[in-house]
Amino acid sequence: MSTVHTHVDTHVHDAHDHGPAKGWRRWVFATNHKDIGTMYLLFSLAMFFVGGVMALIIRAELFQPGLQLVDPMFFNSMTTMHALVMIFGAVMPAFVGLANWMIPLQIGAPDMALPRMNNFSFWILPFAFTLLLSTLFVEGGAPASGWTMYPPLSLQTGPAFPMSIFAIHLMGASSIMGAINVIVTIMNMRAPGMTLLKMPLFTWGWLITAYLIIAVMPVLAGAVTMLLTDHFFGTTFFSAAGGGDPVMYQHIFWFFGHPEVYIMILPAFGVISEIIPTFSRKRLFGYDAMVYAIASIAFLSFIVWAHHMFTVGMPLAGQMFFMLATMLIAVPTGVKVFNWAATMYKGSLTFEPPMLFALAFVFLFTIGGFSGLMLAIAPADFQYHDTYFVVAHFHYVLVPGAVFAIMAAVYFWLPKWTGRMYNMKLAKTHFWLSAIFVNVLFFPQHFLGLAGMPRRIPDYSTQFADWNMVSSIGAFGFGFAQILFLIVILQSIRGRSGVKATDKVWDDGMPQGLEWTLSSPPPYHSFEVAPEVK
């Protein structure tokens, strides 16, 4: 990416310039990309803790064999709700929040292109999640058929069923609107000279992610709509009794579900590709290749869905195709990891909290990538499928993967947002506790799965007791470490910590995007006058 020269004069104000509204109106009627981004991020943080408590209930029950705390139905509700809350409530809104904050800053735009829709897409979320979480209190309990909601099991859900489906429709609508906004903004609001291949990788990752969202969220909506009509209106899309097929649901679901995985990781790739060059003080290795790698991963994500269902009894040719296509994803993913390593090579590294999280991301996401490659081997998948090996795999990709990338991004841009440096020592403690406990939590789950422990069971045979205990200890360690994250953020927001951040925030060495040319915090309207990018 080329170095950016800008001529920004933030003192130029036109007649329409105004600050934020006062009090609650600022948030309820928010149209400012920074305010909406902040709300998204705080909402996601709250959901991260809600989903985290659910995870801790799961791990507490699994601490030792026997049922001590919860009955199996509530356990199943916890695994289901944990997934829905973390995916749709924590990870996706966090990335939308980052997109809202950073995309206009990175492309030199005054705001997002569709500010009122932006407000709407955020404010849907609190309603969607109130609805979803309220199912915990209805008769029959919250949905307990897994976040995949496979019929016929999901059709056995009580009153929670239509509620959770409506909640999913709302979340889908919200993320589609968010995605439309991102695409429209990037396509129409770039500063003069900001060609596509000069865009920062975070913006690139989001552009491609937004297309994925628009392509697959409606597929999920369609799948759950058909579940709804099967349940209430006597259709038999997924019931053999009326000529339907439960496997068809799985195909449709995973046609959404696999790209969904990349929706949660491509923006993370973007974040990491911003942070590693910054703290290596060296330009990103192979910028073009990084963009093409993201694009090819996105393309491949549409033709690999059935690797989630090797055990449904597909024809041999189908299994072969999905095995080979899935293995191919390792190539562009490998390119990304190699390029990050090459960026660090012969750099000049420092290890501030964002860099620490980014480095942990590269190491641990790669481990998740390796177990993914193992899972792609169809014959071996007949053993791995639906065991804790799979649980370990996707948690490596999502926790030290997506979640660490979000934390890295927050630690990277927080001083830019609040105008103050945060408590570095506390942030580093947060990092080390998280990085250690996340491995204590998830690494033993590989062993459990290989040794034969199925996933989604509330109780297990005694030979699995030891590793489960280790994993649960890791879970509580990781969970409590996140309280430090909350403290660091709150301190920084309230201006209680540290010195004023400079415009460049880190050092003059490297940050080179447009966001670092603005003051910290940036003016309420980002670029009143479009900067010139050369």
Partner: protein, 292 residues
């Protein structure tokens, strides 16, 4: 703290290709007792070592960079930012490795899907929450559900220590008995929701759908008792529908079969008790699965 250290030490001591299957601290997949399970285990170890080699290479470059190129050690950043040559190399080499992996994987896959020449066919039906085994054309069929001792211990706050129950959660009332060195074909279906039949020592799992038949085969090469569980979330008691297979010598199996045919007396009645899945009533599927 001491406890954690002890666990860490044990983890290291366990090493990777650990010995006896199902020992505590087990870390790896069982080699299993069928030809397919051994091939699958071989593939698993092959891809595992491939990953280890790549990991060592990539991680050592990263660790070297982290140690060597620190600003605190006065490292001056280089100015290059791409190299077409190395980028081509690390695109092409992984493709070659993948092709090398795909060939043996495809061969095993073809064997797994080869259902011909089976010597014994058993229809296995999953129900919430037990299995039903039907030896086709032999007139023997029975339900197989969680052993009562395990069932008592697994109740919420039962007060019974699971460690005092032999084969906790992995024992059934009626075992699935098969002969050794015989190609057994399992036809899977379900009476209600999706289940999955899985015995790790046999290397395979397959889903069971209501109204459809899926199939798998195995040929156990030694006698013994092998245990597994339902592997697809199937509701309240998903965690409590184990599978226990007893592999007997051919003579013992024949004797067992005859005994079953003699004692059950009315195998037809038993079969009738298991409703044909295609007749599954829609209403039944709507029942709320909250066990009382």
């Amino acid at each position: 703290m001491l406890k954690i250290l002890k666990y860490v030490a044990a983890a290291i001591a366990a090493g990777l290709p650990a010995g006896a299957a199902f020992a505590a601290w087990e870390v790896n997949m069982p080699v299993g007792v069928t030809e397919l399970s051994r091939e699958i285990h071989g593939l698993h170890m092959l891809i595992f070592w491939v990953c280890v080699v790549i990991a060592v290479l990539v991680f050592s470059v990263m660790i070297y960079s982290i140690v060597k190129f620190r600003r605190s050690k006065g490292a001056v950043p280089a100015t290059w930012d791409h190299s077409t040559k190395v980028e081509v190399v690390w695109t092409v080499i992984p493709i070659a490795i993948l092709v090398g992996m795909a060939v043996p994987a495809a061969e095993t896959l073809i064997k797994i899907e080869d259902m011909r020449d089976s010597e014994l066919t058993v229809k296995v039906t999953g129900y919430q929450w037990q299995w039903h085994y039907d030896y086709l054309d032999k007139g023997v069929s029975f339900f197989s559900r969680l052993d009562r001792k395990s069932d008592a211990a697994r109740q919420l706050r039962s007060g019974i220590d699971p460690r005092t129950v032999e084969n906790y959660l992995l024992e059934v009332d009626n075992r699935f008995v098969v002969p050794v060195d015989t190609k057994v074909r399992v036809l899977l279906t379900s009476g209600d929701v999706v289940h999955a039949w899985w015995v790790p020592e046999f290397g395979l799992k397959k889903d069971a759908f209501p109204g459809f038949i899926t199939e798998l085969w195995f040929r156990a090469t030694r006698t013994g008792v092998f245990r597994g569980q339902c592997a697809e979330l199937c509701g309240y008691d998903h965690g409590f529908m184990p599978i226990v297979v007893e592999v007997k010598s051919k003579e013992d199996f024949e004797a067992w079969l005859q005994e079953q045919q003699a004692t059950t007396g009315t195998p037809a009645a038993q079969t009738a008790a298991a409703p044909a899945t295609s007749q599954l009533e829609t209403d039944a599927a709507l029942t709320v699965a909250r066990a009382e």
